[in-house]
């Protein structure tokens, strides 16, 4: 019986799952859209693993990361629940031990992680605004009537990217509409958009940070070769992209879970009905919204309560 470790990264746009062996090799991986329903997405991934895993492998620990880490963590009875910044750093370092800078642009957020001698020395995350992230690119692709998957290859056909305001998504969007109406070529506009994403990132998230080589670019947007090329042009250096770049968070948290005590993992989460419901405490004007996670009819976890007054309603159920 070989031991294996499961890591799941539940982002706002996509959900990633990996199973690794004790030498950090990826045995199985799966990448699907979250579509606003993390529980369903995770069930789908677990189902896929259940059908494809070989019989001599036993899952002994589970880690979760990403914005729905807590919810999925309590459903899977995870051994470790970790924020995505640490998970990404650990995952990337397991494959590229010399890496100095991680650029990560996902669906809703973007971050920069600086690493020195294998430890995280600094990081930054976009402030509470989704400017220049994947969500922006896909909404603009829709506006221009093209598939977001072709975005990068179209951008590469342009020799003369249209300048588009990079400061803020709202400005970028009105700039884009304006330029389109002025009759600029579509491929120039698309190349300009890719450039504005890179500029926006460097001006906001990476502002004042020292970007040292080697640099790796991850997250959904790294699949867009147009943006990768813009980064390379601006930084004037080679940027590494990995075909497993989207799995680094899941990989990292799977590695982190290895140190935790072993658990029995149940693949049959599809047999249970998981649901969430919320209740307003109502004991004071704060009116905290307490969220309950139910497995069939039994409450397995709750959060959102801040004070002893609310403990009454969480105990009663």
């Amino acid at each position: 019986m070989k031991k294996a470790y499961l890591g799941i990264d539940i982002g706002s746009i996509s959900t990633k799952g990996v199973i690794i062996d004790s030498d950090n090799n990826i045995l199985l991986s799966k990448y699907i859209w979250t579509e606003g329903n993390p529980i369903k997405a995770v069930k789908e991934i677990i189902e896929y693993f259940k059908n494809n895993i070989s019989d001599d492998i036993k899952i002994v620990s589970v880690g979760t990361t990403g914005s729905a880490r807590r919810l999925i963590g309590s459903i899977l009875n995870a051994s470790i629940i970790k924020n995505e910044i640490t998970a990404h750093a650990i995952g990337t370092l397991s494959i590229y031990p010399d890496i100095k800078t991680i650029i990560e642009i996902g669906g809703q957020d973007s971050k920069i992680i600086l690493i020195d001698n294998g430890i995280v020395t600094d990081y930054a995350m976009n402030s509470l605004c989704a400017a220049g992230t994947g969500a922006f690119l896909s909404s603009q692709a829709k506006r221009l009537g093209i598939d977001v998957n072709n975005f990068g290859s179209i951008a590469l056909t342009s020799n003369n990217p249209t300048p588009i305001a990079a400061r803020c998504t709202v400005f970028a969007e009105s700039d884009l509409v304006h330029k389109a109406q002025m009759g600029y070529n579509k491929n120039d506009i698309i190349a300009g958009l890719c450039k504005s994403v890179a500029l926006n990132y460097l001006n906001n998230v990476a502002k004042g940070k020292k970007i040292a080589e080697p640099i790796i670019f991850q997250g959904g947007v790294s699949k867009n070769i147009g943006v990768v090329k813009s980064f390379e042009d601006i930084l004037n250096t080679k940027i590494i992209t990995d075909k497993n770049g989207h799995l680094m968070g899941a990989l990292g948290v799977a590695i982190l879970s290895k140190d935790k005590p072993e658990i029995e993992f149940d693949f049959n989460i599809n047999n249970y009905k998981y649901s969430t419901n919320s209740k307003f405490c109502g004991k004071c004007p704060n009116n905290c919204e307490v969220i309950f996670i139910n497995k069939d009819d039994e409450i397995i976890d709750h959060w959102g309560n801040r004070c002893p007054r609310g403990e009454k309603i969480t105990n009663k159920n």
Binding site: S67, I85, T86, I119, V120, D122, M125, G208, P285, N286
Partner: protein, 354 residues
């Protein structure tokens, strides 16, 4: 029926303020109802959209007080945009149709004993100058002792053995402080509690993580506005240090400004307005012994916006991790928790490597 006098919240400082007003006036003193989400909603609804978040909390406090029957409101002022709070808030409240009298404790940016005495004399014609000064001094010591105890608590609360033991003892202390009528009993009471706090059981490792909190005054002193940052950090077993407290703002700041300018001369030539210079100075100091710095400010706080690039440079020169939080009226704190957790991992790995 007695008229009700009321004032907005700032952390636990409603206790000494209440103490002062109760001794100096004949009115019924009632602080605003505790800050809740509803307070913020009310404040947001009637405030200019772009104003900094403390204004919204204060206005919400006032509205809730008025709805509870208050007819005299007290506001301070001075420093940054806070200077205009009183005037603008009074105007907004009058436009809403409330009737009340409004007392501005600090006008022209400085608190003068005589002017303040005159304000209170108007409220209470029997007040003697002696009683005024005496009560005022006791209140200042009240605040001073409170802050002293809070320093001890911040160092230890992250490692408490019995849950809530520090908070419960502090509540008791406030009650006892409140019942002291002169400086001697207050001082005795303070020393008694200091001993008690130091005796509370803690389980503190020698090389625990230490984090300094700097930044704008309201978000660092009012826990609600920073989503209970300090208690979140305490849950992670971190020793805390915070410079800004009321005794700092009332007198320590004035005494140390020259010293701070000298110490920060590589970075600043002049003061930066409000606590800008102070935060540059603190970054330099904290970099020596602490593992990380957290900077808090309301969204759009101008003095801090000016100070941040300098602070970033200092942090880079001194090689200390720093994280910036900008608060406004978002209702979810998930994003903040994610960043805090990552910050914790970062300083922990750094420390382990050392």
């Amino acid at each position: 029926m007695k008229r009700i006098i009321s004032f907005p919240h700032l952390g636990n400082y409603y206790i000494p303020v209440k103490y002062l007003l109760e001794k100096l006036t004949d009115f019924e003193v009632r602080q605003s109802p505790p800050i809740t989400k509803k307070t913020l909603e009310l404040g947001e609804k009637y405030s200019p959209n772009d104003v900094c978040i403390p204004f919204k909390y204060n206005l919400g406090n006032f509205i809730e007080s008025l709805d509870k029957g208050a007819s005299i409101l007290v506001q301070a002022g001075g420093g940054c945009r806070y200077r205009y709070y009183a005037e603008v808030q009074e105007k907004i409240l009058r436009d809403l149709g409330y009737e009340f009298s409004f007392i501005k404790l600090i006008s022209k940016d400085k608190m003068r004993v005589k002017e303040t005495y005159n304000i209170f004399k108007k409220l209470n014609s029997k007040l003697s100058l002696y009683k005024f000064i005496n009560t005022f001094i006791i209140t200042l010591f009240f605040i001073y002792y409170m802050d002293k105890i809070d320093v001890i608590i911040r160092k230890r609360i992250g490692f408490e053995v019995d849950k809530n033991s520090f908070i419960n003892l502090r509540e008791k202390m406030y009650k006892d402080f409140y019942n002291c009528n002169n400086l001697t009993t207050l001082t005795i009471c303070y020393f008694k509690y200091r001993k008690k706090f130091k005796k509370l059981k803690i389980d503190k490792p020698k090389n625990c993580l230490k984090v300094g909190i700097i930044g704008e005054l309201y978000t660092s002193m009012e826990p609600f506005s920073s989503y209970f940052l300090e208690s979140e950090l305490a849950k992670m077993n971190i020793e805390l240090k915070r410079y800004t407290d009321l005794s700092y703002l009332l007198w320590k700041k004035k005494l140390t400004t020259k010293h701070m300018l000298r110490k920060t001369k590589h970075y600043c030539k002049y003061t930066l307005g409000a606590d800008g210079l102070d935060n540059v100075y603190r970054t330099i100091k904290l970099a020596k012994k602490y593992d990380g710095i957290i900077h808090t400010k309301p969204f759009g706080c101008t003095p801090e916006v000016g100070a941040i690039p300098i602070i970033k440079k200092v942090a880079k020169d001194k090689n200390i991790p720093i994280i910036f939080f900008s608060y406004d009226s978002e209702t979810s704190n998930e994003g903040i928790i994610t960043r805090l957790e990552a910050f914790y991992d970062l300083i922990k790995y750094r420390k382990e490597k050392k």
